[in-house]
């Protein structure tokens, strides 16, 4: 049955096949070894790097934010240890269930949840996402007991910003808040990799770069699941710079107290160097509310309060400067050669432009008679300035006043400063599509009409009259590293056209003489405020009208509803021979400047020059639109506890939408004039 077999042939066949196979095996081995040679020798560097990249994860370390002190080392902003609740996305199975169960353990308000969900969606899977900041002890304890049930939920320590003096420095120091989408544009995200908060306003925003410091980094060996195994190397974070402000916390408090609960603004500067000594905008708010995310209820109260606590009146309040412009107008008249100090103008009680029926009145019926520069300031004679303005014309007037700083931001080292309006023909044409009328020049001569200025501009201007040169203003005094603080502060310099020159010594002396007569002269409008002073003061009152004076009928401002009352203004400096403080005051519902604003300035000067601190007033707040029936005992602008209480009467705010950004709400109020 078996076919014939040829054993030799079969063996030979097999040998041939085996040779073929053997050669194939050798070739394949060569390819294989070649491949290993390629990966392990030729491309070794590439794979080595990738293995390291696999293994080593970088974890950013947050820097400690710089502290902020006043000029005497009083702490204004500090970092307190706190705890927050974080969720790590990759370890969470069902985030909604986790949130629900956590909600049973601690209160999670809607704002927290909304923010968390937004963050959670975009977060890297292994990066912890914050759910709730500033856990209190009860919450910590409850989580400690139940924490084992929550995979991927952890309590993480962090530092939270705290403002020990709270409301007193709300507008100057500002506050930090969580980094929002809108902040991303102004930061380098990698530099903020570990940072949760960023300066949102005031000094905190202005000097964010100095305060933030540099993020450190930890090299961590991690396994494929992303779990950290050990720290390989560590570059510590560099803490932010501590900043010293030129503000004096005691003067700041005295200034606030001097307002006795009225809304308004004041700013005191050192005329010799432009240091801001105190800066108050009232009413104010507690910046600590914003640090860990303000609740909707608190935010609504703040934004709906008609007295606008969030609004920084010093930088952003644009007021008709009224008679406080007279020293500047008078100086311009001298500088332009239109007047001499002795030249008189006759005040009959009313000024009329040729060919026009309209009368521009003095505050004193029947007029002041023949008035020189000194008396025009002492008695605040409108006719002198009506005529001066008319002689000067709007073009020369605008140019001179812009040189004095009106119509431009002062360039102070705080964010969001307003420029006010120094009207020109061109401005009116652009803004109102109208020609300039001569009568508008006349009213501008006494700081009315289109002209508006911020308290800061008035303070800078009066300080310049005191010292002879216009100093750039700054709030930053020194940095921890001894950086040249004024240079840091003045990245934003004075407008280019300004030289700092304010007037000749002779002309300045004449104006100062008139301003001294306001306080100490027999006819001075503010002589009551200077009575018994141990030093010579110079100043000028202003009363910005909110209702035009028609005919000869005079209205008693004290009988008007608060929001229709005149605004009381005052600018001044002291001591006259060697000025150490210059001040601008605006009392919003103040009536006459001499009666309301000047006494505030006197108290602040006494506090600074004589060390007489102003105690919180005990007098009740007169009826205010926001709180018609304020309890008499409440003193909204008292000392620290009093200040905190001051939020209570503001809580009457109604309902409505809340804006995302507090700065935004300022614009609505700016044009109430």
């Amino acid at each position: 049955m078996k076919p014939l077999r040829n054993a030799m042939a079969e063996a030979a066949l097999f040998r041939r096949r085996a040779w073929v196979a053997g050669i194939a095996v050798i070739l394949a081995s060569a390819v294989l070894i070649g491949r290993y040679f390629e990966l392990q020798v030729l491309r070794h560097a590439e794979f080595k790097t990738r293995a390291e990249a696999n293994r080593i994860k970088l974890r950013p370390l947050p820097p400690a934010r710089g502290l902020i002190y006043d000029r005497n080392g009083v702490l204004l902003a500090e970092n307190l240890p706190a705890y927050r609740l974080v969720l790590i996305p990759e370890q969470i199975e069902d985030v909604e269930t986790t949130l629900r169960e956590l909600g049973a353990l601690m209160s999670l308000d809607e704002a927290d949840l909304q923010r968390f969900r937004a963050d959670y969606q975009v977060a890297r899977r292994f990066r912890p996402v914050t759910l709730k900041l500033r856990l209190d002890e009860a919450e910590m304890a409850r989580f400690a007991v139940n924490g084992h049930r929550f995979q991927g939920v952890e309590i993480a320590p962090y530092f939270t910003r705290h403002y020990p003096l709270g409301p007193e420095f709300a507008h100057v120091v500002g506050y930090v808040g969580r980094i929002a989408e809108s902040d991303l544009a102004r930061i380098d995200e990698t530099a903020y990799a570990a940072t949760t908060h960023i300066g949102k306003s005031g000094i905190e925003r202005q000097y964010e770069r100095l305060l933030h410091g540099a993020t450190g980094v930890e090299q961590i060996e991690a396994n494929a699941q992303g779990r950290d195994l050990r720290v390989i190397a560590r570059t510590p974070a560099r803490p932010g710079q501590n900043l010293h402000l030129s503000i004096d916390a005691r003067l700041q408090r005295s200034m606030a107290n001097a307002f006795e609960g009225q809304p308004g603004a004041a700013v005191a500067v050192d005329p010799r160097n432009g240091e801001v000594l105190a800066m108050v905008s009232l009413p104010t708010f507690d910046p600590n509310l914003f640090v860990n995310g303000i609740s909707h209820a608190d935010y609504r109260v703040l934004t709906q309060d008609q007295s606008q606590p969030m609004f920084d009146r010093v930088l952003d309040g644009t007021y008709a400067p009224g008679s406080t412009v007279k020293p500047f107008m008078g100086l311009a008249g001298l500088e332009l050669g239109l007047r001499t100090p002795q030249a008189t103008t006759f005040s009959s009680g009313a000024f009329r432009l040729a060919g026009q029926a309209r009368e521009y009145r003095d505050w004193k019926g029947g007029g002041h008679g023949a008035i020189n520069l000194r008396e025009s300031l002492a008695q605040s004679v409108n006719t002198y300035y009506y005529k001066l303005a008319h002689d000067m014309g709007i073009d020369r007037m605008s140019e001179a006043m812009q040189r004095f700083g009106f119509g431009h931001p002062t360039g102070i080292d705080l964010p969001g400063e307003e420029s006010g309006v120094m009207p020109t023909r061109e401005w009116k044409r652009r803004r109102l599509k109208q020609e300039w009328y001569p009568g508008e020049t006349v009213v501008a001569g006494i700081g009315q009409g289109f002209w508006t200025a911020t308290p800061l501009q008035l303070a800078q201007g009066i300080a310049a009259i005191a010292s002879g040169t216009r100093q750039p203003l700054h709030v930053l005094l020194a940095t921890q590293d001894g950086l040249d603080a004024p240079r840091v502060a003045h990245r934003a310099q004075l407008p280019k056209r300004s030289t700092g020159y304010f007037g000749s010594a002779q002309n300045l002396a004449a104006v100062r003489d008139g301003l001294t007569a306001v306080m100490h002269g027999p006819t001075g409008t503010a002589r009551a405020s200077a009575a018994g002073s141990e030093y010579l003061m110079a100043g000028k009152t202003g009363t910005a009208q909110r209702i035009g004076r028609t005919g000869t009928r005079s209205l008693n401002p004290n009988n008007l509803p608060m929001h229709l009352r005149h605004r009381a203004l005052f600018v001044g400096f002291a001591p006259v021979d060697a000025p150490r403080i210059a001040i601008a005051v605006v009392a919003e519902h103040g009536g006459a400047g001499s009666r309301v604003a000047a006494p505030i300035a006197r108290k602040v000067m006494d506090a600074w020059l004589l060390g007489k601190e102003v105690a919180p007033a005990v007098a009740s707040l007169p009826e205010a639109p926001a709180a018609p029936a304020a309890p008499p005992a409440s003193t909204p602008q008292g000392d620290l506890p009093g200040c905190r209480d001051s939020r209570a009467p503001l809580r009457g705010g109604g309902t409505g939408s809340t804006g995302r950004c507090c700065l935004r709400s300022r614009s609505s109020s700016r044009r109430e004039w």
């Binding site: 063996a11 081995s29 290993y36 794979f47």
Partner: protein
């Protein structure tokens, strides 16, 4: 030959110790299997080819039966591959890697060579049946290797180049059909991923990328024993089994890899040499096809780890942790050594 095997087994044990994070349990288990395999090797080496030949059909049928049991009693993660025999898990498919060449050799030993077309058809059935059974488990990789070991036997038996060519052409033609009608999604993924691992680096491409990184980062001399970060930090999947050789490459570098591959090459060529020296066709075919199959495992695993070939579940012979594989491979060399011993005696 035994020395070469011992070197590889030792390298495997060393790698396992490192890849398994010093697990004594794994080490002991593997050691026990190697010991069992060596025992089997020695026993089989004493059998004459004649005895083996008579034993072949029984071994084939027995392994087929075990394979048939797998779908009903099997266990395994993604596919049912293992039989739980109480003491150890048995992977019947591994047995077929030996018994298929044996049965082909048995069938052909008294036929006229080169094989005739009729015999080829019979052998195709003998090879095709277990391959198909394994393929539906599903374990396509092993199925192809089992088929390959049978085809090697046919090839060594003088399968005409013409038929071989036709087979290759038919297989190529079948590939697109298989793609559309037969391959499961995960199998398609593996092939697509092989073509472009960067396509899904976190998913299907992960294995290839991470094992390439492991191999490449080993460099010329390696990171040293126990210093494989890819395995220790669990970037490398299956680092005790299919990807164990990547750990070896990472720790011992190109020098180690080249050394081991040359030892493998020596074993394969030596086996082929033994086969040609054998004086009857059963021993020749069994030894030759087992040697070639052995080389295919090395090449497929070594290629897979470096991204030269798609990921298939093929262990690196005697290095990867895996009981049945180690035992059957050593048993196979028992057969080879038996062939050698007895042809020498016959002289």
């Amino acid at each position: 030959m035994l020395l070469a095997l011992a070197i590889i087994v030792a390298a495997g044990m060393v790698t396992l110790y490192s890849a398994g994070s010093g697990s004594v349990r794994l080490e002991l288990a593997q050691g026990a299997r190697v010991a069992a395999g060596l025992l089997l090797l020695l026993v089989l080496a004493r059998l004459t080819p004649m005895r083996l030949r008579l034993f072949s059909p029984w071994a084939y049928v027995a392994s087929l039966l075990l394979l048939a049991l797998v779908p009903f009693f099997g266990s395994g993660r993604s596919a049912r591959l293992w039989l739980d025999l109480g003491v150890f898990y048995l992977q019947p498919a591994e047995l077929l890697k030996i018994t298929v060449p044996m049965i082909v050799a048995w069938y052909l030993h008294d036929r006229v060579l080169p094989v005739r077309f009729r015999d080829v058809l019979v052998c195709t059935v003998l090879i095709g049946l277990p391959s198909a059974m394994i393929a539906v488990q599903p374990d396509l990789g092993t199925a192809l290797l089992v088929a390959a070991s049978g085809v090697f036997a046919l090839f060594l038996a003088g399968l005409s180049w013409w038929l071989l060519g036709t087979g290759v052409v038919l297989a190529s033609a079948a590939a697109p059909l298989a793609w559309w009608f037969w391959l499961k999604d995960y199998q398609k993924d593996r092939i697509l991923t092989f073509l472009d691992p960067g396509n899904d680096p976190q998913g299907a491409g992960w294995n290839i990328i991470q094992s390439s990184i492991a191999v490449g980062s080993g460099g010329l001399t390696g990171k040293g024993w126990g210093a494989s970060t890819q395995a220790r930090l669990e970037y490398l999947p299956e680092h005790t089994t299919d990807f164990a050789f990547a750990v070896f490459a990472e720790e011992f570098g190109f020098v180690g890899v080249a050394g081991i591959l040359l030892v493998y090459l020596f074993i394969v060529l030596r086996t082929l040499w033994i086969a040609t020296e054998a004086h009857e066709s059963y021993g020749r075919i069994v030894a030759g096809s087992l040697g070639l199959a052995f080389f295919v495992y090395v090449a497929v695993n070594g290629g897979m780890i470096t991204g030269l070939l798609p990921v298939v579940g093929v262990p690196m012979p005697l290095v990867s942790y895996g009981g049945t594989s180690a035992v059957t491979l050593l048993a196979a060399f028992g057969l080879v050594l038996g062939v050698r011993a007895h042809h020498r005696l016959a002289r």
